[in-house]
Symmetry: C2
Subunit: 150 residues, 2 copies
């Protein structure tokens, strides 16, 4: 998997085209799991012998977030994970056993949220809905277990 990105995306976002930014964008684009921590990204850079510091990873991710290229999430472990913004808004469901993250959109939920926010008098800027549970998929370590109380 080579570089999926030309500098266009970066230039369009008002950012200089530099190697660290290209590499990090490439990792975010090429990753099977779409939600990566700064450490995840840093490790992948090291694996490909890129000489990019962890501080730069954080700086670049923050710039990407400001530019609207990525979204920063805080799932319940507290550590930030970053996701490339492609397509439209969506919510998340996280497997407590394998850490898998899936995305979904439900217009009913979106609509009810608008109603609730209006009732409470808020002008909503964004929101985050995350469900946590057991995915029970065959390759999930929690799959074999009987459905226990926890």
């Amino acid at each position: 998997m080579g570089l999926h990105v030309e500098g266009k995306d970066l230039r369009k976002a008002g950012l200089k085209v530099t190697l660290p930014r290209l590499k990090i964008l490439d990792i975010l684009e090429g990753s099977a799991t779409r939600h990566l921590s700064a450490e995840d990204i840093y490790r992948r850079l090291i694996d490909t012998r890129e000489d990019i510091g962890l501080a730069t990873v954080y700086r670049v991710l923050t710039q990407f977030e400001t530019a609207g290229l990525v979204t920063r999430h805080h799932f319940e472990d507290g550590m930030a994970v970053f996701e490339l913004n492609q397509g439209e808004h969506h919510d998340h469901i996280v497997c407590l056993d394998c850490g898998r993250v899936e995305e979904f959109v439900d217009e009913g939920i979106e609509e009810r949220q608008r109603v609730v926010a209006a009732r409470l008098g808020y002008e909503i800027r964004h929101h985050a809905l995350v469900m946590y549970g057991h995915c029970r998929k065959p390759d999930c370590p929690g799959a074999g277990k009987l459905r226990a109380d926890s």
Copy 2:
């Protein structure tokens, strides 16, 4: 506002009744803002000249969480906040200007979530929905401002 708690709650939760635990429970019960960080609680302890260490605050809060007495949330700033469990599940709406946190329940949203989880094959354990916006309340620093794009 004196102690609201006897040792009962603690004993029922299987925890020894100690001064730090009573004080912290008392703070959680007596606070106007129901969502407090460990640091918030620690500061209030210092204000009342309680000689309780920050490490103990963290330990106690974690035990309370395990015992089901409190819930730990991660709003988008990343720092953990703790909330006393009283009444049933609810979701949150946070003001970006003043930090105010309000709670709500919408059965429509709950129901749609169950449908989505079933469709994706997950057994849900819990979920967190947080909306972020501007509350526009009179005492909010963001109140006077025209509704700008951000």
